[in-house]
Subunit: 279 residues, 2 copies
């Protein structure tokens, strides 16, 4: 497997990489970014995964996320994958921002024409970790995961399905119950088909109701977020956690919206929170 | 004068504004950003100006500059103007990234066709400060200025020409002697004409040689910056400051390039450095 170095920039004493490779999972060229903080020779560092939201690529958080200072301080590697397969051969819904390219929803699609390339679950759960382990000074026994909006949904569901891999799970303004909201109903019905039983493993609230657990959970949600009421429905997660006895810290942040201005404000706290649980 | 609020986002407890207005200086609509940190009712806060580099607008530093956390911590207002007039009526050199739109060089042009709109010196020295004072909780007795590359040139020259207004001056990878480098020779000859005597007030090294002084000066320059040798020539500033007895802190930062990865790494230090001198 060849990893192409698209860019490397020194930042906060470490290195911000942007890389691409031919993915077996998606059958496409995939781009992702990795920040490696300053570290002692031979050291192995914890890894924090960040899954991005609708319309995003690796670039949004890499440019606007303001994570590098905290990652440098706490010695954490930060990995930001893309949100879908890309390329002219990949089917798309070109006039829809919430489906197709930029909207992979972190599933392995089972319906044509999506099932050939839209395999973001396998890509992030199986393929990319091996690449990180082989190419960076990563301690794969110490992994946390976070994400924003659709990527918050990805972080919660991957965290709930893999509690042995992810010691800590957090999210910024996540979609918590995609089965019950328009973004999720549209995406899951087309990627997975109309049988809602198949959606349950891609729905954080449903996973919790079905017995899945995480060790540690932190969520920040802005009260001025335009998507809160119709698409995000943070309250469903609070109720599910309370009922299941999951010690979740779900913080409603007064006046914050859905943008990277919100994410960057709380990013350093999330990095420190993960570092404390991975350290 | 009407100020249009293009956006307002809560960040780090304060507000990030993007605004536009009809400028008398440039005769065009001008867009700029202002971050107002959390503050007590009725408080007046110091102001830090940030001038951007070639090809940039207010947006680059607003999205990638990572200044808000430090501004919130130190209680500093951060103002980021555009780098040139904009609009269909404004003459441009469309295939040149280093002249015309996005490349105003912080001068008042005296040559046709540039002299009508390219009046960024008057805009930033005279017009915009009055707008900031009238619309934000700004203590205009406490102003500092910084900038990047062409904007570092702008910060140094405005600081040197107005030591009473700017108590502190810093820069990231500034063009220090535009009269002696290709970017500057091209821009100044076309905006100001071939008479090099007219360039001296827009050249930091020449201003110092002619007796201008600043109270405090901090410069960060990456050693891996591709423009260092041909365009930036930091050494000319070091020599001029040493000869003039200006207590300048000029730091060569090992391995850093010309990008916002470099700027964001040292931004918090610059904000704190200005705050200490304005506080």
């Amino acid at each position: 497997m060849t990893l192409d170095h698209l860019s490397q920039n020194k930042a906060f004493g470490g290195d911000q990489f942007v890389l691409s490779h031919q993915s077996e999972a998606t059958g496409t060229e995939m781009t992702f970014s990795v920040y490696v903080p300053p570290h002692a020779d031979g050291a192995k560092l914890p890894v924090l995964w960040y899954l991005s939201g609708l319309t995003c690529t690796h670039a949004n958080v890499t440019e606007k996320g303001e994570y590098r200072q905290a990652c440098a301080e706490h010695g954490v590697i930060f990995v930001a994958p893309d949100t879908s397969p890309r390329g002219d051969d990949v089917p798309d819904a070109s006039d829809e921002y919430d489906f197709g390219k930029g909207a992979g929803f972190y599933v392995d699609a089972t319906r044509e024409p999506w099932s050939k390339h839209y395999r973001m679950r396998s890509y992030i759960e199986d393929e990319l970790p091996a690449i990180i382990e082989a190419n960076f000074p990563a301690d794969m026994a110490l992994q946390g995961i976070t994400g924003h909006s659709m990527g918050g949904h990805g972080a919660l569901t991957m965290g709930l399905r893999n509690p042995g891999r992810f010691r800590s799970v957090s999210a910024f303004a996540p979609i918590v119950g995609p089965s019950k909201v328009p973004w999720g109903e549209k995406a899951l019905s087309r990627y997975l088909g109309e049988d809602r039983e198949a959606w349950a493993e891609y729905d954080a609230v449903a996973l919790i109701e079905n017995g899945a657990r995480v060790n540690h959970l932190l969520v920040d949600q802005g009260t001025a977020d335009n998507f809160l009421e119709e698409q995000l429905k943070t309250g469903l997660l609070s109720m599910a956690c309370a009922k299941a006895g999951i010690p979740a810290e779900i913080r409603m942040q007064e006046g914050y919206d859905h943008s990277y201005y919100f994410i960057s404000t709380f990013m350093a706290e999330h990095v420190a929170w993960h570092a404390a649980r991975l350290g």
